[in-house]
């Protein structure tokens, strides 16, 4: 049995599944690690929802320009063939289904692909959604990158989300430290397990995972 995957290994796995030439949005946080494994000069084109296609890596030193940032407000560089556009055009691009892939973090994903990633549901939390709901419905393939289990050991892949929803039936694949899961009409199919057996994952998630 292989080991459970590190964040970086999950990111590599996702990057390997993204076809050359794809237009991709990487959500804030862990999904940005995927960029380290993509060819941003000639292959994959990154979209950042604050108004750019062709986003490059994080800027360093003299490259830092406060007018050139990504959705996480990190300074970045531009790649050849980049373009800038305003927010309404940028979100129209997302909402119109033009992005090939979007990679998002999650608190929970349901077996039907419902996504919860914007709000813990804590009664005193100040709600803040940003572009999460637009991203959830805004790509041909919405991939989730997360640990399979929460700190309390509970599965984040669930029958029904208990956290407030970000989008309904929007996730197509879930990449975790313990396995890659495909959301299908028949149910959740485990593509590969890491650091656990299929049966162990069935038991710990409490889900009828398909082979």
């Amino acid at each position: 049995m292989s080991d459970a995957l590190s964040k970086d290994q999950i990111a590599k796995l996702i990057a390997d599944d993204i076809p050359q030439g794809a237009f991709v949005n990487l959500g804030i946080g862990q999904p940005t690690l995927v960029a380290d494994h993509l060819d941003l000069e000639r292959g994959v084109v990154l979209h950042t929802e604050n108004g750019m296609l062709g986003m490059g890596r994080a800027a360093v030193g003299d490259e830092i320009d406060e007018d050139l940032i990504n959705a996480g407000k990190i300074p970045v560089v531009e790649t050849p063939g980049a373009s800038y556009f305003h927010h309404a055009d940028s979100f129209a691009m997302m909402r119109g289904g033009h992005l090939d892939v979007c990679v998002l973090g999650a608190f929970q994903v349901s077996v039907r692909g419902d996504l919860a990633n914007w709000h813990t549901g804590a009664p005193d939390a100040i709600p803040a959604v940003g572009g999460a709901m637009d991203l959830a419905i805004g790509a041909k393939d919405v991939l989730v990158m997360m640990t399979l289990f929460a700190k309390d050991g509970s599965s984040k892949l669930v029958e029904d989300c208990t956290y407030p929803l970000t989008g309904l039936a929007c996730v197509s694949r879930v990449y975790t430290d313990h396995g890659v899961f495909k959301i299908t009409d028949e149910g959740v199919r485990l593509r590969e397990a890491y650091g656990a057996t299929m049966d162990e994952l069935r038991e710990r998630t409490g889900l009828d995972l398909l082979d």
Partner: protein
Amino acid sequence: MTDVLEADGAADEAVADVPDGATVLIGGFGAAGQPIELIDALRRHGATDLTVVNNNAGNGDTGLAALLKTGHVRKIICSFPRQSDSWVFDDLYRSGRIELEVVPQGNLAERMRAAGAGIGAFFSPTGVGTPLAEGKEERTIEGRDYVLEYPIRGDYALIKAHTADRMGNLVYRKTARNFGPVMATAATTTIAQVVDVVETGALDPENVVTPSIFVDKVVLL
């Protein structure tokens, strides 16, 4: 990923997979921005039962008019079919051989924009109380009347731009821009004919009008 087609017959190659029954958005306003070589290629290709979306319904005997004359266009959606030289369309229409949906020009543009932007429908201020709103849902919002309009999606868009880079970013020239940028967003497959192709990086990112994500094939003519 955008294919750049430059060889002889590139226009024919670009439209070779347009199936019968397709909805084809065709750019241009008058001669400006009209992708005439792509239209000619579509005519030679011979797909039938087409729905064509254009501002007009053809002029003279060339371009869109020639395509209509083949009888391969089942329906045209446009804002202004009747012109002094639209005899091909006029004849087809009067003899019941083509279906016509007349749409106010702003609704035509906005309905394609909605298709490209994932909008399910929108309340438009244009056409309220007129024959073109008959049978459509109306609603008063904050004291103003609107009519509900639905997206117009294309299977293909044939447009004309001025310059493309090798990734498929496009810039246009003057009023030839017209419907091109909107149609590019509204079609599953967008084919742009251009007069110049430059290396990736040669277009200023500030000035790109149609980002490469909306462009599937570039045909250099």
